[in-house]
Amino acid sequence: MKRDTVIGSSLIRPDALAKVQGRAPYVADIKLEKRDCLIGRALFPPYAHAKILSINTSRAEALSGVEVVMTAKDLPGLNGYGAAALDKPVLADKIVRYQGDPVAFVAACDKKTADKAVALIEVKYEPLFPQTDPKENLKPETPLIHEDHPMSKGTNISSSWRVERGNVIAALSRSDIVLENDFETQIVDHAYLETDSCIAEPDPVTGILHLITQGHSAQLNCRSLAAAFGLPHSKVHVTIPIVGGSFGGKEDSNLEVSVMAGVLALKTGKSVFCEYTREESFRNTGKRHATHSHRKLGATKEGILTAVAADITVNKGAYRSIDPIPQRMTMYGGGVYRVPNALVEARSVFTNQVYGCACRGLGVPQAMFIIESQMDDLARRLNMDPVELRLKNILRDGDTMITGQAIKKSQGLGLEKCIQAVCERIGWDKPLEQSDDPSIRRGRGIATIMYGTGTGYPTDGAHCFLNLQMDGSLMVGIATAELGQGGIIAMTQIASEAMGIPYNMVSVNYSDNHSSPEAGATVASRSTVFHGNAIINGCNILKDRMLCCAGQILGEDPRDLDIREGIVYTRQNKERSIPLTEAIKFAFSSQVPLTTTGSWYPPLNHLDPIMGQDTRMHTYTYGAQAVEISVDIGTGIYTLDRCVSAFDVGKAINPMCVEGQIEGGVTQGIGYAMMEKFELRNAMAVTDTYHTYLIPTSMDLPKLETILVEEPNELGPFGAKGIGEPPVTAAAPAIRNALFDAIDIPFYSLPITPIDVLDAIKKKKSPVVNRQERAATKNLEK
């Protein structure tokens, strides 16, 4: 029998055509089909920090067309919700902690009326000083942002982590070279195309509240909101249609509109639709955390890393949201290198501004910018090629990270291959061609990264419901959300291969908490590996059952049988076969169940929380990125001429989707490096439109050159590793290092805009020369 496999095949995603043709229904499209749906709108405060003295809603309530006006006193359940802590008030009660805290909700017949009603609500505030500096907020005399936070008692610290290994102080004092730098990274927005929206529908028969919303996990939405609705989890039914981009943001940011729609629906007994405007989405929803890091890096004069010491402060914003940022920034504190001595400490601190949430890469883009920038500083100090320095220090089979975790080749270790691949493609060994234009300086830079698959928590694992049909097709109930990453097609391909049926016989039912088991969220670059493995496990259970049935029909030992393309066949004699449907019918009539749950867990993480020593991720995706840039020293405007990326993905289940993930991630990384910055004045958003908040356009990008490296992960489905987030992490340091190469100026904060570049050039005392000119000068001196 032909051994065709769909694994590694770029099958076209089922959602692709519908999206291109505008037929794929997003939440706001589904709303168009709903009649008599009320529109919910919220009143937001004109301050980032204020006491609420009084609220008068009478004029709003009197307006014709207004169904209800709600304030904190009118809520059906707990006045708190959230993904990690129920610390975000549904409606601000006595205090507003940032400009996105709603003070009142209105439900009305249409948006115009609702907005009019919102404008009629009278609120008296006593403005308070917006506490926006995390370092100030760490001081004991500074007032608490949360007087009674469910998790952070008596402190403004949201979360903290430390990793300690060896003896840093001694190692640094013995090091030939110690670099010491401060790094700043900025707040950025996810810039998802679909603004936050939700339809809430109370079910008068069952008492269930249906939410058609966005998110990374229907179960997580339910868990985060049920207490605010005063409902058991079983009565909050969440479905997530395809999502118009999220990048981590809608893991919890969309809960804002969901809780609003939900409480208004419960209050009115009617369907309610809530949708943020673009400005509201910018102002209110979570962002990538801003960070400040002080970092020391020690090395021998031969360029062997000896020690790293770093102190990192993360601006948390007003609520906890998703906050493993200190943990991630510390665990990756040594980068992709062997560093025998380390002390990396980080904490996130509450402030009166928009909260930091999950954002593609979860702290790792910040960490890699710092680490990889400092590596190039070290290379410069040593007068060593940046690639040579990296190859001397990268993690190899059996080496340990600063967390003490040993890196195993068996779980896929393609780091060196990625570095080699990008160097070969970009021609690292050849001199970079310079421009004839006297105002142009050209440069080349590289960065290397690693990124774990999974959350690393002991709770991490995945499950799915499998439901084999009488015609040999398979229904897969899975918690994965389709955020545009290609989750449906990847799961389809894995199920098809594992069950031995054509892929068009697989139907994936995604993102419905009533038809899929709790299985963690579509985050942490984990779905392909975790859910994929759970599907394989479930398919193996069903397959064993069907092979036993087929064995009885064929008179063969089930261990000699296999299934391909919906045919059960004998391995030794492929002529002896029956259609899978025969085995299924036999099973059905013999009371053998056609359904099962599939499960998978990664190896348990053994954690030492004091020293931060653990084995947090079972596998890591590795990558390298090399870029070429041209800098106009007269204007500071620089052009990305080439961008070559190689990522070791273990096994690309669907290479086209993997390349799509890489190109999208790299583009976001380029935006992070070159232009994106969410700005606030007195803690109030300034950049709340796409007019002021710039993201790259296709005109800003070179052709993105992508290389897939496949070093199989023995624990992954068909060898796969995660690829959702790793691509976003390398661009910023690679571009920064290319600038350093081109104009001999190191940057230590992001983004690096033409404005920053020109300013640095103007401040520079010596002429602006690139690497080759520097080398020529050095030779002359010799």
């Binding site: 500071g636 232009m675 007019h691 356009t697 800003d700 033409p754 404005i755 103007k762």
Partner: protein, 280 residues
């Protein structure tokens, strides 16, 4: 309050509506600026006169020593016209405005009447010493674009007047446009320079230089023009290296320093390009 909407088919019709409504009317065409204000509720006009349907105003044609760009001609129409294509700086300016979608409907006339500080089309047209034709039911007058704008959002157009054409002197074809923005497309530039040079035997006989995003509205850099006129063009440009035009008055903002640092470079580069096009 309801807005009365008019869609005239002729200039005469439009002028008579404006005669009646005057300052209570707004004139719209592509609506790329004004619709934002309307949709945000910042502007609630009594009357909206949309001039899109006035076919004659879409025309771009010769008019004596001028190319006459109609008051409803879109950037796209300018980019496609063989007459405006002869002004390379003008095409450089209008082809970098907004996005293809914006250029499909936005007009140079709208750009001028909006009187925004950072207006590519308006800045370059000023660098071509364009003249503005304002027509009302009672007559027509011509105002130099350099005198048209009197402040942010304010022009010399009277409430009863319609901007029917922008006249571009054919003597200004040696022109160039430079802009500096933070990204390649769909971004408002932070520094804009338009220039046209008339050169005879290597001597600059006439220079027109305009600046955008460096004050409340685009302005002429007369001090620079004076330094160029009557001199060999290369010498003239050379002595401008590092010169910051006195007419540029960037307001206090996070971009002020950048404007100060980058303007001298962009000015010289734009002049060099125009000179090169003039065969010098």
């Amino acid at each position: 309050m309801a807005t009365v909407f008019f869609l005239p088919n002729t200039v005469e019709e439009a002028c008579s509506i404006l005669e009646e409504w005057g300052d209570d009317a707004i004139i719209t065409n592509g609506g790329t600026d004004i619709v934002i204000d309307i949709s945000k509720g910042n502007l609630i006009p009594h009357a909206n006169v949309c001039i899109w349907n006035i076919n004659e105003l879409h025309q771009i044609k010769m008019d004596g020593d001028y190319v006459r760009v109609g008051g409803a001609a879109t950037y796209k129409e300018m980019m496609n016209s063989s007459l405006t294509k002869e002004f390379p700086g003008l095409i450089e300016a209008v082809s970098q405005i907004g996005s293809p979608g914006i250029r499909q409907v936005a007009t140079l006339a709208g750009n001028i009447c909006t009187a925004a500080p950072a207006a590519d089309g308006c800045t370059m047209a000023m660098g071509l010493d364009a003249q503005i034709v304002l027509k009302s039911a009672t007559g027509e007058r011509i105002v130099p674009l350099s005198h048209m704008m009197i402040g942010r959002g304010k022009t010399k157009r009277r409430g009863n007047e319609l901007l029917t054409a922008i006249l571009i002197p054919t003597s200004k074809k040696n022109c160039a446009y430079g802009r500096l923005a933070r990204r390649r497309a769909s971004d408002i530039a932070k520094v804009m320079v338009g220039a046209s040079l008339e050169i005879e035997d290597g001597i600059c006989t006439r220079a027109v230089v305009s600046l955008g995003a460096l004050g409340p509205v685009p302005c002429r850099a007369y001090s620079i023009e004076q330094k160029l006129e009557g001199k060999p063009i290369r010498t003239g440009i050379e002595q401008l290296r590092g010169v910051f035009p006195e007419e540029a008055k960037p307001r206090i903002s996070q971009f002020k320093r950048y404007k100060e640092q980058a303007l001298p470079t962009l000015l010289v580069r734009t002049l060099e390009l125009a000179a090169q096009r003039g065969g010098a």
